[in-house]
């Protein structure tokens, strides 16, 4: 028992939690834009995977992780463009197209990795090392947890704030949310529903791609098949638990990351809990939190419904 307390007392746990939460957070933030505009994007997983893959390819060929990140983000947007075309212009089934995208991306990235690198042996590429903020990192607890992370941590905090401001303080955000609540009324008021939904999906693709980039270039410096490993799906749950708020998305993603970090930490102690069961814990917690929020989650009214003029 005291060992468990030791784990909770160690800052390493929280630092790991933040690190694990980041890719999920980026994707969840993107999904928040899409869902606020009325689009369900189950293809989040595919966008992350494509971002992770393209980021590594980009960094491999240019030697520059920043260029790699840009390419990864762009690749995420490319996948998002297909989802946007189907969901917005073609009024097709958003969920089915998202699943199809996930499988197609899984196949394409695994295949291309094998084509580019003989036998799928992806080499190590230049990535983002953690940057220690001088001064800040000496603050007890918050120092190592927040200020000794990859540069993308700072980006995450900034992006959450900017997203909140965009969604809730700018006319554009109001219009975007109107598209998610009642696109027909929004349209009749002259709000360009299709354009705004496209914008939201492009933002979603970019952020999901960034989340993928963080996985590959910010953590492992390489690519492996299916390396997103379901994080896109977790991001979908995070959005709901965060009740479609960019700020709460940080908390929800970190909560998930915390339990995942706990599962990893417990393995290296004498605590006799099967690691596999610990790894199921984050999903169980997510499920319970979701169930506990019953009646308090109110999705955008037109979420997932296609809209066609006519």
């Amino acid at each position: 028992m005291s060992e468990l307390l030791d784990i909770f007392a160690s800052t390493a746990l929280y630092a790991t939690a933040v690190r694990l939460a980041l890719p999920i957070f980026f994707a969840a933030l993107g999904e928040t834009f899409a869902e606020r505009a009325g689009l369900v994007n189950v293809g989040l997983e595919g966008m992350m995977l494509m971002g992770a893959f393209a980021g590594v390819v980009g960094s491999h060929y240019t030697g520059d992780p920043w260029l790699g990140a840009a390419i990864g983000i762009f690749a995420g947007m490319l996948v998002a463009a297909i989802q946007a075309l189907v969901a917005i212009n073609l009024a097709g089934d958003q969920i089915v197209s998202g699943i199809a995208l996930n499988i197609a991306v899984l196949g394409i990235t695994s295949y291309l990795a094998r084509t580019i690198w003989e036998g799928g042996d992806v080499p190590s590429v230049n990535g983002f090392d953690s940057i220690t903020m001088p001064g800040f990192s000496e603050i007890p607890f918050f120092g190592p947890v927040i200020f000794e992370q990859s540069v993308l941590v700072y980006l995450a905090i900034a992006l959450a704030a900017v997203s909140w401001w965009l969604l809730f303080k700018k006319p554009w955000g109001l219009r975007l949310r109107a598209c998610g609540e009642d696109p027909r009324s929004a349209d009749s008021l002259g709000i360009p529903v299709f354009r705004i939904r496209w914008q939201s999906m492009m933002i979603c693709g970019a952020l999901a791609g960034l989340g993928g980039v963080f996985l590959s270039l910010g953590q492992l410096f390489t690519f492996s098949d299916n390396m997103s490993g379901g994080r896109g799906f977790i991001a979908l749950a995070v959005v709901i638990i965060a009740r479609w708020s960019p700020i709460r998305a940080i908390a929800a993603a970190v909560l998930f990351g915390l339990f995942e970090a706990l599962a990893l930490r417990v393995q290296v102690t004498d605590i006799n809990v099967p690691p596999e069961l610990m790894l199921a814990l984050p999903y169980l917690v997510t499920l319970f939190v979701y169930a506990g929020l019953v009646g308090r989650t109110r999705p955008p009214k037109s979420l997932g419904r296609e809209y066609s003029r006519g």
């Binding site: 369900v40 189950v42 297909i82 075309l85 189907v86 212009n89 073609l90 009024a91 097709g92 089934d93 969920i95 089915v96 197209s97 699943i99 199809a100 995208l101 996930n102 499988i103 197609a104 991306v105 899984l106 196949g107 394409i108 990235t109 695994s110 295949y111 291309l112 094998r114 084509t115 799928g120 360009p192 299709f194 354009r195 098949d225 379901g230 799906f233 979908l236 749950a237 709901i240 099967p274 596999e276 069961l277 790894l279 199921a280 999903y283 169980l284 997510t286 499920l287 979701y290 169930a291 019953v294 066609s308 003029r309 006519g310």
Partner: protein
């Protein structure tokens, strides 16, 4: 508008879309394969040979088609009620877990009895797991899209733990799998060609069809699919229908797990038991347009494709991932062509040809 087309014209359009989508998916994949330095002719010849070229190949393709079809049937039934069962993967694992428990625990029973009990255990295991998502939806209003996916992970880790601990094969030299099922519980192959599992899948499609088209429950399912208000107006307890549909979907996936255990692979449960059948089943149901017969046919197609490619991996070096690539692209093209977008495009083209202004609006841009 497509809805206004004659039924035979509609069927023709659908066939056309299927054909166009297959061709488009093959075209894109071919470009990628050619870029990867593959000899296309050799690749496609090998895929055909390995999926259809011999009775042995056909038998294996049928075995591959079974779990996909069964999961797809469950997805299709739920889909008709407007419910998305993305939990096939978890339900397969829970079904297979219950099945291996019975197959190993009652291994002394005579073969046919043991097989029946094992299949029933699989059905119950899957139904329970699907039922959890169904109950969360009906009682608390939680989105099954989220809950089924979380339950997938939970089921996977539970099985992953069990096959490394309590139910690990003591002679496995550390590998994470259970002991093999007893020989007499293996599903027989009829005439060295037709796996019993395939017959089970055919029966399951027939049952699903009867359920949807010939029973009151079927009417309830379909009226729920037209909206909760519609279901309630038609006099159904929509919560119960929603819950029941998830039970059925889970049962089908659980059966898939049990059949795959008894009639495919190596007869063991491991944490790499399912190569993604849960999500492939969703695609299969979509290709089958949500109808049980269509899902059966789509399952055959997907089964032959996957088996062909995994066979060609050995002979022509085609990576397995090509199957996912082809399938994903096929479904995407199918969705893209499955809208009245192109009809509208054609209308506006015709209108502009006739000299009148095309219908304005961003919808067609």
């Amino acid at each position: 508008m497509i809805a206004a087309l004659q039924p035979d014209r509609q069927a023709m359009m659908m066939t056309l879309r299927m054909g166009v989508s297959v061709v488009a998916a093959i075209a894109v994949s071919s470009i990628l394969l050619a870029a990867g330095g593959f000899d296309l002719q050799l690749v496609y010849e090998e895929i055909l040979r390995q999926s259809l070229g011999s009775p042995f190949a056909i038998k294996n393709s049928l075995i591959e088609a079974v779990p996909i079809t069964l999961v797809g049937l469950g997805v299709a039934v739920a889909f008709r009620a407007g419910i998305f069962n993305l939990g096939g993967e978890g339900q397969i694992y829970m079904g297979a877990l219950a099945a291996i428990g019975v197959a190993l625990g009652f291994s002394g029973l005579p073969g046919p009895l043991l097989i029946c009990l094992t299949l029933i255990a699989g059905i119950i295991g899957g139904a329970l797991w699907g039922g959890v998502a169904g109950a969360l939806r009906s009682r608390l209003g939680l989105s099954e899209i989220i809950t089924t996916i979380m339950l997938n992970f939970i089921a996977f880790w539970i099985v992953s733990y069990l096959v490394r601990g309590p139910i690990q094969d003591p002679n496995s030299a550390g590998y994470p799998y259970t002991a093999e099922i007893p020989g007499r519980s293996q599903l027989p192959i009829v005439g060295d060609l037709i796996p019993t599992g395939f017959l089970i899948a055919v029966i399951a499609s027939a049952v699903a069809w009867v359920l949807l088209e010939r029973t009151k429950t079927g009417i309830g399912i379909k009226s729920l699919g037209s909206g909760e208000a519609a279901g309630r107006f038609a006099g159904f307890r929509v919560e119960m229908v929603g819950f029941g549909v998830m039970l059925i979907a889970g049962a089908m996936s659980g059966l898939a797990g049990a059949v795959a255990l008894l009639g495919g692979g190596d007869g063991r449960l491991s944490d790499f038991f399912s190569p993604g059948w849960g999500f492939i089943g969703v695609m299969t149901a979509l290709i089958g347009r949500g109808s049980p017969i269509g899902t059966l046919l789509a399952g055959l197609f997907v089964g032959f494709l996957t088996n062909g490619i995994s066979g060609a991996q050995g002979t022509a070096g085609v990576p397995n991932s090509v199957a996912q690539m082809l399938l994903g692209l096929f479904v995407l093209f199918l969705i893209i062509s499955n809208t009245d977008f192109f009809v509208r495009l054609a209308e506006s083209a015709r209108a502009s040809l006739a000299g009148s202004r095309p219908r304005r609006g961003k919808a067609t841009v």
